[in-house]
Each structure stands twice: as C-alpha cells, then as structure tokens.
C-alpha cells in the first residue's frame, strides 16, 4: 500500500520546494516538532522531492523514483527509526538490525500508519553502523541518497557509552558528498549538542484541526466517521498521531495523573507510598506520559482559573501562580525522567514539591 499523502504543512512544504528547486536544501536537517504531526512523513516527502526524476522540487508522485519512495522501496532512501535492542552476536548485530528494520519497514509498507515507538526501542549502535555502511556507498539509482532517522532523541547510550550518538556524529561530521540526512525529533534537547550543532533545525508545527479531521476521514481503514473525526481532531491538538492514538487507555493515563496529584495532596506517607509504587526502572515512557498528563490537567485548571471559573482538580483557593509553579515542577520532573533519574526519587521529590504548593 503506498504511503498516504502529506496532510497540512503547506507553508513549510512551499518553502522546502523552493530550496529544493534552488538546490539549496541543507544536507543535514532536523525536523523538530510535537509527536504525531507527520515529521517522518514529511521527511519521506522531502526524500521523494530530492530524487524525483523531474528534478529536485515538489515530488511528481508518478515517476519510477517517486513511486518507489511512496511504496518504501527506493534503494537510495534509508529510513531508520527505533527498534528493539539487537540480541545476537556482536559480529552479526548489524545484519540483525538490518533485518529487524527491514521487517518493520515491510510492516509499514503494508500499513503505513504506525504508532509511537515502544518504550524500549531505540536507535542502537548497530543501526547507526548500518547507516554508515549505506552511507559509504554511492547511490544506486538517484543523484543522491537520503537518510531519514526518526525519533533521533533515541540515540541512547549503550553499555554506558554514547556509542550510537558518537557514531551518528561521525557520519554527520564527514558526510559523503551526495548524501542528505534528515533527522526528526520531538525533543531536540535530548540530542547530543555536538549532533544538534551539525543540523539545520526546521520546526514542524501542529496541524489545524481541520487537517487532522480530514486525515481521519480519508486515510485509516475503516475511515473515522465525520463527527467522531471532528471530536478526536479537536482533542488531539493538531497531532494526527495523537488523534489516531486516542484509545481506550487515555482515561487510564488521566487516572494515573490524578493519583499522582492526589498522593501529593495527601501528605508524606501517601507520597512515599505512591513513590515506592512507581517502578524504579523501565516503563519510562508511561511514566513521562503520566507526568505530562498531570501537567495538562493542571493547565486545564489554570485556564479555568484565569477565566474566573472555579473547579477542576485543585482547590479553588489555590492561586494561579501556584498552578504555574506546579506545572513548572512537573516539566522539570519530566526532564529528569527523560534523563536517567530514578522515577521513585523523582516522584518523591515532585509530590513533596507539589504538596508544598498546597494543591
């Protein structure tokens, strides 16, 4: 099944078509934006635009090259994204990574709508090695070859060394001449500064709700009914991914966030009990999600408060400034969670801080 078309981002695409036509697309780009707005899809679109047989520009969508890109079969478009940690012999990990990635891409070829990467998936060293291997060869068909690296913030340390990120840096430091790198991330702060400094950042914004709704009506099978699409698009805040992912457990996330806030309110024992109940390792993405949800709940309250309405999750007498402080605390905690801080410690600290704010 060919990829769905790109939805939205018209202004950005128009700009990019201009640079493509002028042969001025920077060889190393960072597409930076919230999750689910179509950064990697945009990256593939750019790849098609670079390789289109009618010359760099808006991809025609009909030439051999464009069709191969759209069916994820173009030999000069190398798409990598987080996968499971390779398990096999070190000497064969690159082959293993190639295979894992190949299977994942084959699955996307079947169904181009994919979810967020699993919490344990990452861009491990063998994937970057594979990229090196491919980068060292001249293109197969096209004028250039394109490397699209999704979720680049997942270039994580392995065995306590930044091998994967360093290897990525190495190829960015000495890029082969006919090569384009497009990295995408939701969190540029999580990239090594040395990597970040070699990339030209491009901000990919949230989509208008109308685009998200249109996507929901047109792309998934079965299609989402118009009314439901409107509703979900509204809640997804311009992220197609979020709209697609709105799922049964959305309530669970909110409930988890409520429990966190409740624990903070109840006092030290409840807080520590709650903290000890948090897994001290693994499942970080769930954990950050909970923190994010809590922040969003408080943002709701804050909005209410500023509108002069009471209610929400916090006591009416908590002033708006405190809410702002609390949201800031949650954001800080999220930062730590993304680093390597023990979630239990984060929660212990966070709940105390929130408790002191008197929520």
């Amino acid at each position: 099944m060919p990829l769905h078309p790109v939805y939205g981002h018209e202004a950005l695409r128009a700009r990019l078509v201009g640079t493509l036509k002028a042969h001025k697309l920077p060889p190393a780009l960072l597409l930076l934006g919230p999750p689910g707005v179509g950064k990697q899809r945009l990256g593939l679109w750019l790849a098609a635009g670079l390789l289109c047989e009618s010359g760099p520009g808006e991809p025609c969508g009909t030439c051999h090259s464009c069709r191969l890109v759209d069916s994820l079969q173009h030999p000069d478009v190398h798409w990598s994204f987080p996968v499971a940690r390779p398990k096999g012999d070190e000497s064969k990990q690159v082959e293993e990574a190639e295979e894992t990635l190949g299977e994942a891409i084959a699955a996307r070829r079947e169904n181009p709508l994919y979810g967020r990467p699993d919490g344990l998936h990452a861009l491990f060293l063998p994937l970057v090695r594979l990229l090196h291997r491919q980068a060292m060869m001249r293109p197969v068909m096209g004028r250039v070859k394109v490397f699209l690296v999704g979720d680049a913030e997942r270039l994580v340390p392995q065995a306590s060394s930044q091998e994967a990120a360093n290897a990525m840096l190495k190829v960015l430091e000495e890029p082969p001449p006919d090569t384009h790198f497009i990295l995408t991330t939701t969190d540029s702060a999580a990239l090594l500064p040395t990597i970040r400094s070699r990339l030209v950042p491009l901000r990919v914004r949230r989509l208008p709700s109308a685009d998200v709704a249109r996507f929901l009506r047109e792309v998934p099978t079965p299609a989402v009914a118009a009314e439901e699409a409107e509703h979900r698009a509204e809640a997804a805040l311009g992220s197609i991914g979020d709209a697609l992912e709105q799922r049964e457990d959305a309530g669970d996330v909110a409930a988890a966030a409520e429990r966190l806030l409740e624990a903070a309110r109840r006092g030290p024992a409840a807080r520590y009990r709650y903290a000890l109940g948090v897994k001290s390792f693994g499942a970080r993405s769930d954990f950050t999600e909970t923190l994010g949800a809590a922040a969003e709940l408080l943002r709701d309250d804050l909005a209410q408060r500023l509108r002069g309405a009471a209610g929400g999750h916090t006591h009416a007498e908590v002033p708006a400034e405190r809410l702002v402080d609390a949201i800031r605390e949650l954001d800080r905690a999220k930062g730590w969670a993304r680093g390597n801080v023990n979630p239990q410690l984060i929660v212990a600290h966070l709940t105390r801080a929130l408790g002191e704010l008197g929520l």
């Binding site: 990990q93 306590s160 006092g267």
Partner: protein, 582 residues
Amino acid sequence: MTARRIAILSDAVANRIAAGEVVERPASVVKELLENAVDAGASAVAVEIEAGGKTLVRVADDGEGMGREDALLALDRHATSKIRSADDLVGVATFGFRGEALPSIAAVSRFELETASAGEAVGTRIAAAGGAVTALEDRVRQPGTTVTVRALFFNTPARRKFLRSTRSEVRACTEVVTTLALARPDLGLTLLADGHAVVEALPAGSLADRAAQLFGQQLAATLLPVDHASGSVTVRGLVQRPAEAAASGRMAYLFVNGRPFRDPFLVRAAERGYRATVPPGVRPSLVLRLEVPAGDVDVNVHPAKLEVRFRDRYAVEAAVEAAVHEALGPLAASAPYSAGSAMPWEHRAVAPPASAGLARDLFGAAGGDDAAPSEGEAPAPEGAAAEPPIHASELRVLAQLHQTYLLVEAPDGLLIVDQHSAHERILYERAMRTLTEGAAGGQKLLFPLTITLAPAELEAVEANGDLLGQLGYEAEPFGGSALIVHATPAPHARFDAERCLREVVADLAGGRFGGLHNRVERFASTFACRAAIKAGQPLTTAEMNELVQRLMAAELPAHDVHGRPTIVQLPLLELHRRFGRR
C-alpha cells in the same frame, strides 16, 4: 523567600516515636548528621572527626540547606521536616525522621550549625552550648549545611566517662560511614579521622564499585551480585563466593528500603542460601539491600533504628535465602559438596585473599557486633589449594559456547571461561606491567586518525597522555577539539584502535572506574575493558587456546577487573555424583 521545610511535630506524633536517647556515642552523632545530610538531598558529604569524635565531629554536606526559620526550628525538639502527622509514620522512607536528633546533639555539646539554601545569598550560622542558642548571625556560604559538634557530653560527665577508646570510636564511626556508603553508592563520602582519610568514596556507579572502593579491589573481586525478587520483596546486593568465604572477618550489611538494620535471623537465612557450598563454620560476607513495600516494614522499633519489624518475616527470609541461592547458582552447582573434594583447577591466587590493611580493619569492625566468631574455631576450608597446581598445558579447549564462553577440559573436571572477562584480565595485567615497567611500541599508521572530542574528554587525554603513550598511542592535539593519532597499540588482531580510544577517553572523562584510587589501575582497567574482545565474537581454535593459556599464566585469572568471575568450575567428582557413579 524560601519555603519552610521544617514543621513542629504535634505531641501525639512525638509520642508515637519510640522514646529513648539517640546520642550515646560519637558514632551516633555521625549517624544522625549523615542521615540529615542525605535527607537534605546531599550528593557529597564530608565527615571529619578528632579523637574518635570525642573532641570534634563535623559533617558538611552540599544538600539543600535551610532557611533561617527552619534552622532555628531544627534545634527545637521534635521539629522535623519529614513528618507532619501520626499517619505519616507508617512507611517512612527517609532516614532521619526523628525530630529529636539535632536538639539532642545540641543539648550535650558545643554545637554549631551553618546552613544556606540554594538561591539565598546569605546563610545562617547558629551556635549553641548545652542546648542554649548563643549566637545567631548571617553567614555567607555555599548551599548546604555544616554541623560542627565539639566537646560532646561536656555537660554530662557520666556519659563522657563511658566513652570507649579513641580507636574503638573511630572504628564505630567508620562503620557508620561505611554502612551509609553501601546504602548509597551514588553518594560521595569521605571520613577524615585526625587528619587521615579513612574512607574516601567518590560517587560510584554500582554497589560493586562501591564495595571495591571501601574494601579494596581484591576483596570486592570475591563478591557476586545478587538480584532477586519474590512477591513484593526485592533483594539486591553482593554475596561472597563460597570458595573465598573465611571462618572469620566476615562483614554483613543489611538494608531495607535503603535503611541499614541488623537482623541475625536474616543473616542466617542468607547463609542457608549457600546450602552445602560452604563448610560449617565458614561465614561468607554479604551486603543485601531489600526493597519491600513501605507498609510491610516498621522501622520505628528502636531509637537507634537498627532494628526493623517485617509484617511478613517468613516471606522476607525466604526471599533472602532464594536470592543468595540464585546468585550462587553457577558456582553452587560446581563447588565441592563436601570439603576436600578437588576443584578441576587451582591457581595460587584463587585461594582466599590474604586480608590486609584497611579492608581487614573494616571487616573486623563489621563483624564486631553480630558476627560473633565464637562458635568454636572452625577450620579453614581445605580446598585443593594444597594440591599441586595444574599446568595450563593440561587444559584442552573443547568449544566456544554462544560465542561468549569457552568450554575447557581440565584433568579433574570442566572449566567454563568467559572470553571477554578472561581477555580483560589478561590485558589488564599486561597493561599494568607495561605501565609500571616500561612502554609498548605502537603500530605506526600510514594515515593518521583524527578524532573529535568533547572538552572533558580532551582534558582526560591530557591528564592521561603519559599512560596513553606508554600503551602505544601516539597522539597530539590538533586544532580546538580534535586529536590526531599517529600510532596505536595493537593488542590483538580484532582490535579497533579508534573505537577503543574513544571509549577509554569517554570512560576516563565520565569517571567510570572512578572507584579505583590509583590512576594507573584506573587507566589499565578502562583500557582492558574497552580493548578486550567482546562477548559474541566468534574465535578460532588457535585464538581460544591462546586465550586460555594466557589466562592461566595471569596472576589473578579467576576474576576480571570488575570482580566478575572469569572461570566457573565443574569438578569431575560432581559430575560423577550427579550421574550416580559415586
């Protein structure tokens, strides 16, 4: 303005906390102050004592400090930042919840508290004598708290009279610091006794590293990691390899949810985990860290807080036993079932390490209270140490398992060798020799390598340039952040010189082997770890043979530089027994 962190406990709460004197000797002062420091979120704590703490105890931390109001409250009995109501007492997860610590100490000493919280330009200094505040003033200082306790018990002559010898008090303080150091490997801790550094522990990456800092590499190398969970109980830590356990000088450290405690029954449960792998009377050392749900343990039993009460003691004991047994798994299967059964292979250095120096002292201290070495003088294990050592040529490499382990036939059984650990050990010893006795020539490169490094890494290169050079790296700075390499060592055919250099430099910059005091040791360990062949590397028969030969020629073949075993042994006798031939 800083938020007030300290609240006065209501009488009801204060009464719920078991009554009793907290301060009985300098070590208890050290303990209380350390715990306060930890609770304040300190990342490094320096302890200084004089005359065993009788004349001076000073604890300085870089924690969050206190505002003035809090500092004054801290001297108020039953003021604590950690508890507000009696409900909160169940499941306390910080150390020093007892509000009385500071006031109790201040009441019997000349006391001084300096503190500043982050973001405050000016901190506070409070001085007190016998509990009465004598000075309160501004003091500019780094965020954190320093408590100085002089002339302990100056106003309680009886107490003062009962203090033990300076040596004994030093040992008790050392024990307190050591215990905390084990509870929190991530914490930087130093103990200075009369100007001598007794404990010097930089933040360590793991409990094993911390154990190496505290007890020495040699002893730490005899410890095996424990990691086990049954039900809601998690047990992690280190236990001694059965073959290296001795009849005396054991150490036993237990922690529950990060809090140290004593419990002879749990120690015995751990010993049961050894089953028959140790002869009677031999007492293996152990550090066990238990995690149980906060509601399942009551830590408020005794004022010294060394006793705890488990809601389900049986489950905890069973978990500890299972954890130890699991940790010993591979060895328990291979160790002799009765004393005297020959191991397939013995090496002079595999005998229990000769305890020496500081490590010995620490063990003595650790065993002092509960190890009771009085169960009769148990004979030292009669391993095969007395038998003539087997020559390496009597070993035959059979196969490589999962491209990670080598299977080696020995005259009296089977050896399983971890290829990475083994190579690491060989390279470590060779690197140490090269670094201490001379230098190795590097392979000159046709085309020099250019490597870009982070500033901290460049610093590490500068700081270790001499050692890098001795090992065969010929490198010079090149422009701002690059290094140009003209020659590299070539320790083996599968060596990736550039990757190894990058990793070594990153490790050095990141302090990965920071636990090793000696710079040369630290460097050699790093190099050995990064240069050694990895698990998963297929090897030719010739390479396997050479690896085993060289391992057997090593000084300490049985352990790698992290203290993991390089060899697991399966005696023939054991095989016979298992197959019912004997």
